[in-house]
């Protein structure tokens, strides 16, 4: 399936409170395995919980795990937004 078809967007662009299915992770193997260990894996549902004021760091939730990550890392994660 083409990326365009499923409307893949970066985790950064997922609106606050919205949920999405993860389709892409960082290419770097080290970073990728850290993402997986935190629960950010292909096929899992991630939700944007919060963005700090003035900052680009965001808080997301996968399962029962909360994760803080910078926009730079979030940009490497491709998600398909789920309808509310």
């Amino acid at each position: 399936m083409d990326e365009q078809d499923i409307g893949l967007l970066s985790l950064n662009d997922l609106p606050l409170g919205a949920r999405g299915v993860i389709h892409e992770l960082a290419d770097d193997p080290g970073l990728q395995s850290r993402m997986r260990a935190l629960g950010l894996c292909h096929g899992r549902i991630v939700q944007v919980v919060r963005r700090v004021r003035f900052g680009t760091t965001l808080q997301v939730r996968v399962g029962n795990t909360d994760i803080a990550l910078r926009a730079g890392e979030a940009a490497l994660i491709g998600v398909e937004q789920l309808a509310a």
Binding site: P29, L31, C41
Partner: protein, 592 residues
């Protein structure tokens, strides 16, 4: 003796479990192939003595972090009879991956599913027999905090070790990328979670603690509280240690050494004993610092503090935890430097350790308050002090900007925000105690050697007046004069800088000796000797150059890299010199 290694992701309650399993007898020690000390204890399991080793908490075994490397190196160089893999029952969806990875080494293992109390109240149900069957490991549900399930855990570990035949080191290879999917599948098959997990205590607390407007003020309030707790409780304890040492000196040591020749007596009193005193004076704050920091960390707040302050620090290549340690450094740099160990990534740690010494600690504050009171008007004094704090932050920021390229260039920021939890006091105090003994073990010799060296410089030749121009220090100050006179720092004051290298606490005492003024007349003596421009230049230098020998000892102990430690000493010295020079020359030109 059989050996059991404890493996688990961070925040799974690994320390709490270790503490419960092993009690008070744990010690940190060296291991072949590993560059950091690990905590280990001997316990009786089913009639046999077993050595239990607490490995650092890691997210995976193939990762790039410092802690991951330590675990790999440990398992690679030290035969282990079995692994206890500890996980958080509420986050098994992602934590089973570590169990699968560990299993792939072929080592016997037991899966300990901790936080059973939380899982129960969240309504999470785990089909233990199915999990055991599919995983091929025995699984025990427990709560390390309240002790539930501990007998079963002991039982399982005992029988695993009893049956264990394998005794060989393993080399963890790169993880199979499908492992995460397998782990998730395993979890879906064996764990049921109620559909809405949303309004947990943590979520509700976070609405306040991470609030858009109140989050940062709350952070500063909490830090202020911790800071006050550590250092206001620490001060009387330090005084107590100091008076005990004074008593020992006056009542025991001085009468004893009167029989010895002068130089030997002086060596024992002003060299060795003062060195021991320097080491001892840090123990109360290190203990308190780690008690309170472990509370903040164990409660889950520390990573939130990092998240909240991340935007301030990201620019400088640091993260929020660096900021917390930098703030704590305003009390005392030494425990703050040791506290950087909570950051897994080495580059980040090294960069943070480079900036902490710029935090204006209480020992320097004492010198500044004295000089500012002696040389500035009451109206100017607070502003002068405030400007020093600005320089403190400024130099730290500048240093981070300059060195981030080399140290933290590409480090990602991806931080777990663990649920809020109540720390166990016994675990917290134990941890603090281990930090104190670690400091004693690693830094004592270095600090005493440094104190003895400065003693020698300021006392040799022994017929000269201590710290006078006739001593080695005096000679040194003559050589250094071309360096210091452009800063407005005269030879006498440059000798006090030499003392200040040992500890800033002794600077005022050294001045009193050098100006032979006694403590009472010192203010008058000093204000007669220098003008405000010289005093400010001197303070700038004191602010920026090496805070004390103990910080150097700790930087070496933590980095294990002499090159790094050398840079960490030379760079602030250079910066101190340049800043004082610029200030003195410019100020003299305009106001001199």
């Amino acid at each position: 003796m059989k050996r059991l290694a404890l493996l688990g992701m961070p925040n799974t309650g690994k320390s709490t479990f270790f503490n419960r399993l092993t009690g008070a007898g744990a010690r940190t020690g060296n291991w072949p192939g590993v560059t950091v000390d690990l905590l280990a204890a001997k316990v009786l399991l089913g009639g046999d003595m077993v050595e239990v080793v607490d490995l650092p908490g890691v997210y995976n075994l193939d990762g790039y972090g410092d802690d991951e490397r330590v675990v790999r190196e440990f398992l690679g160089a030290n035969p282990v009879d079995g692994l206890a893999i500890i996980t958080d029952a509420t986050q098994l969806d992602r934590q089973l991956i570590l169990a699968l990875q560990a299993k792939s080494f072929g080592l016997p293992g037991v899966l300990l599913v901790n936080m059973s109390d939380e899982a129960r109240s969240l309504g999470i149900e785990i089909d233990l027999p199915a999990l055991e069957r599919q995983l091929g490991l025995s699984v025990v549900l427990l709560s390390a905090r309240n002790g539930e399930g501990m007998p079963a855990a002991r039982q399982s570990l005992t029988s695993m070790l009893h049956d264990s035949q394998v005794q060989g080191a393993v080399s963890p290879e790169a993880a199979d990328p499908d492992l995460a999917d397998k782990a998730y599948q395993l979890w879906s098959d064996t764990v049921t979670v109620p559909t809405t997990l949303n309004d947990t205590l943590t979520t509700r607390l976070d609405r306040i603690m991470l609030h858009r407007w109140f989050g940062l003020p709350l952070f500063f309030l909490i830090m202020l509280g911790v800071f006050q707790a550590v250092y206001t409780l620490g001060a009387p304890l330090q005084d107590l240690v100091a008076s005990a040492l004074d008593w020992g000196r006056g009542q025991v040591l001085e009468p004893l050494v009167t029989l010895l020749p002068g130089p030997v007596a002086s060596f024992i009193l002003d060299g060795l004993y003062d060195g021991i005193g320097t080491v001892a004076s840090f123990l109360p704050v290190i203990l308190l610092f780690f008690i309170f920091m472990s509370l903040v960390e164990g409660s889950g707040y520390l990573s939130r503090a990092a998240y909240l302050t991340d935007m301030i620090m990201a620019r400088a290549g640091l993260d929020g935890r660096s900021f917390v340690m930098q703030l704590m450094g305003f009390g005392c740099n030494v425990p703050a430097l040791m506290g950087t160990r909570i950051m897994g990534a080495r580059g980040l740690r090294l960069l943070t350790m480079l900036i902490i010494p710029f935090s204006l600690c209480s020992a320097r504050l004492q010198v500044f308050v004295f000089l500012v009171t002696a040389l500035f008007s009451p109206r100017a004094a607070p502003l002068v002090l405030f400007s020093l704090y600005l320089f403190s932050f400024g130099t730290a920021f500048l240093t981070a900007m300059l060195f981030k390229r080399g140290l933290t260039h590409k480090e990602p920021f991806l931080l777990e925000l663990p649920p809020y939890r109540l720390p166990v006091l016994r675990v917290v105090t134990m941890r603090a105690w281990h930090e104190v003994s670690h400091f004693l073990k690693k830094a004592t010799l270095f600090i005493i050697a440094g104190v003895v060296l400065v003693w020698f410089l300021t006392h040799y030749p022994f017929d000269a007046e201590p710290a006078s121009m006739e001593t080695l220090a005096g000679t040194l100050s003559i050589w250094m004069e071309p360096l210091f006179s452009p800063l407005g720092i005269d030879r006498l004051m440059s000798i006090t800088l030499l003392f200040g290298f040992v500890a800033k606490e002794v600077v005022l005492g050294a001045m009193a000796v050098i100006y032979s003024s006694g403590d009472a007349g010192l203010a008058a003596a000093v204000s007669g000797q220098m003008n405000w421009i010289q005093a400010y230049s001197f303070m700038l230098f004191v602010l920026v150059y090496t805070p004390c020998l103990s910080t150097i000892a700790v930087m070496q102990q933590e980095s294990r890299d002499w090159r790094y430690t050398t840079i960490a000493v030379v760079w602030p010295l250079t910066l101190a010199w340049v800043m004082s020079l610029v200030f003195y020359q410019v100020a003299t030109y305009f106001w001199g």
